[in-house]
Point group: C2
Chain length 413, copies 2
Amino acid sequence: MSSSVSPLAPKKTPKMPAIGGVRIATAEAGIKYKGRTDLLVMAFDPGTTAAGVFTCSKCPSAAVDFCRDNIGGGSARILVVNSGNANAFTGKRGREATKMTAEAAAKAVGGSERDVFLASTGVIGEPLDAARFTHLLGSLAENATPDGWLGAGKAIMTTDTFPKYASAVVKLGDVDVTINGIAKGAGMIAPDMATMLAFVATDAPIAAPVLQALLSKGVGKSFNSVTVDGDTSTSDTLMMFATGAAAKRGAPTIEDIGDARLSGFKRALNRLLKSLAVQIARDGEGARKLIEINVTGAKSSRSAKRIAMAIANSPLVKTAVAGEDANWGRVVMAVGKAGEPADRDLLAISFGDLRVAHRGERDPDYSEAAASDYMRGDEISIGVDIGLGRGKATVWTCDLTKEYVAINGDYRS
Amino acid sequence: MSSSVSPLAPKKTPKMPAIGGVRIATAEAGIKYKGRTDLLVMAFDPGTTAAGVFTCSKCPSAAVDFCRDNIGGGSARILVVNSGNANAFTGKRGREATKMTAEAAAKAVGGSERDVFLASTGVIGEPLDAARFTHLLGSLAENATPDGWLGAGKAIMTTDTFPKYASAVVKLGDVDVTINGIAKGAGMIAPDMATMLAFVATDAPIAAPVLQALLSKGVGKSFNSVTVDGDTSTSDTLMMFATGAAAKRGAPTIEDIGDARLSGFKRALNRLLKSLAVQIARDGEGARKLIEINVTGAKSSRSAKRIAMAIANSPLVKTAVAGEDANWGRVVMAVGKAGEPADRDLLAISFGDLRVAHRGERDPDYSEAAASDYMRGDEISIGVDIGLGRGKATVWTCDLTKEYVAINGDYRS
């Protein structure tokens, strides 16, 4: 793990207010790490709805398999997250570990195993010894408090150099409701020691199908628009819980995704998801620069997103940014390899406000000095206009530095 | 450019015999480099057939566009290759440069512009000043000699640390025919200064459609099975020329891809293409280890290839190999992200002869010491058995080192 905090870390930690119906506890279970928390319990009041989006990996972790089985029920009483071991590629023993954890967790809150959700992050392929922490779940659930959000963000870290938080207060009907989120991740995956996990909770009363629709839609322009190294974790998990506690204060219960009263909430949620997702790019392993890629003028939004991801995942683009080189030739290469409709002679490319290429050639006004100056900043925006249509997309990534190679190449040696 | 030769370079340079009907000349045109050759002319006797496979990039170079227009004709009199400038993303001026070069080249051999082929490799986006070398083509074609193959391999280098050669003698009918090949490339692309180019010539009399069929098939298990960084050049070009000179010595003229007399030639050609392709992986930017990935047991060969490429392009697998870490968890991750049919509980993974994982779990006989010892070698073989079918594929790549980042991040700065 890196000892120094990413230079791209947010300057301020947001206040993380209590969410009615959510209580939190953390512990040092010693699963792998020493001298730090590695176990998070989030207990929910009865009636809490749940939604989740999970990894596309064909080899998902045991915890992901477990959550997928339960998410259809749409209700949650407890979330248990451990760091230090991913419980992935652990076969039968992996399923035994999730079963043992689920039994203890259900008992801890006096609920059903159907209302338990689990996430594990850390080393792949090592059996997870659930007995290290199952005996702790009862007292953790009992002693959990509403103000534990900052500790929750820390307990789920692996190679992260800073905990990731976001919070928002927004009107639902005439009532203020709160949304809190935490996330971890420093590569989209570094399966030894990283995975993207994010957990969001709100006191808004929102039915599970609506919550799922919000989350499934919201993930597209947030977590699914971030890449560090193009590698997909076996364990990526984004979950959201709605306790409904705000109903007591008069917040309307939302049963329909088309409910007009949801629009402000939806915008706030999407901003919060984006904030957490961009924080993951800011904490990309070895990152020294945050890169935002805006593709416009593609044939469709889907096409724009593919082009943007091809640029964001190009090692050559990412090393060029690390080298503070306004190397738009590599951007052209990445557009070309995306396999989407593009015409070299219509392409325009800009770095920040500086247009470097236009209609298939270097911009006549291009200034190497101005471009070099821009590239010295720590937030780099790359704009690509395809010139064919109205499709657009924005994705975020970070530069590829020698530290990335050191973190991932020197880890076990 | 790197000054030291890759430790993975072949220990011996093969003899590159003359090919009847092919004459070669090189020159120092000063296109970008000083004190080295950067211009190659290969002149072919009348009657030479041609075939080519070009980049899939949607933003190909002007030279690729030019070759695509001519390749349908199936005949060649002259190939002109320059290094130092890719003539890519150069718009109208790019097309003017190819036209000017083609006119001069056609005149140099007294042939048609339809029988000219061009390739350019180097910086993207800078206009190519063809006037720097068009005046040289006449005397180069006139003074070209059959024994210039070693010089040809050197003239087309960019970030390559060694020139790449392969040669074979094989029977066609009862007659020995010769195949020579040269290649360059150190990333699949580093558009500043690298692109994959390969040129193969033979004295065998082979009709153009047969030559094209051989090449289109042969590229799949050679150049299309190699990746350095997953980035696709705007200029990738593989061409093959058959002069037919061996017909005078009694070699049969091959007009049909199904001709049984072609089988030995086909095998020799495929071996030669593979040798050149693997040399490109051996010269991958910053490479310290050659990685061969063998996927077996996939649903289909196509599926196996996709899985193998997902592993080969994973920065996390490549950095693990650089760190001499038998990190099979990252291999699982890469299998999972490939999106192809796979069942965690059927997977088996080996490094060299050491099986590290079996049926979804760490192999009970796994020895960290033996695995670490194996990883210290400079040629690493990763085997993945999917356990679902009979599809298999082999691809080659290299490790991802800090030197890759240095070469690509520090280049222009």
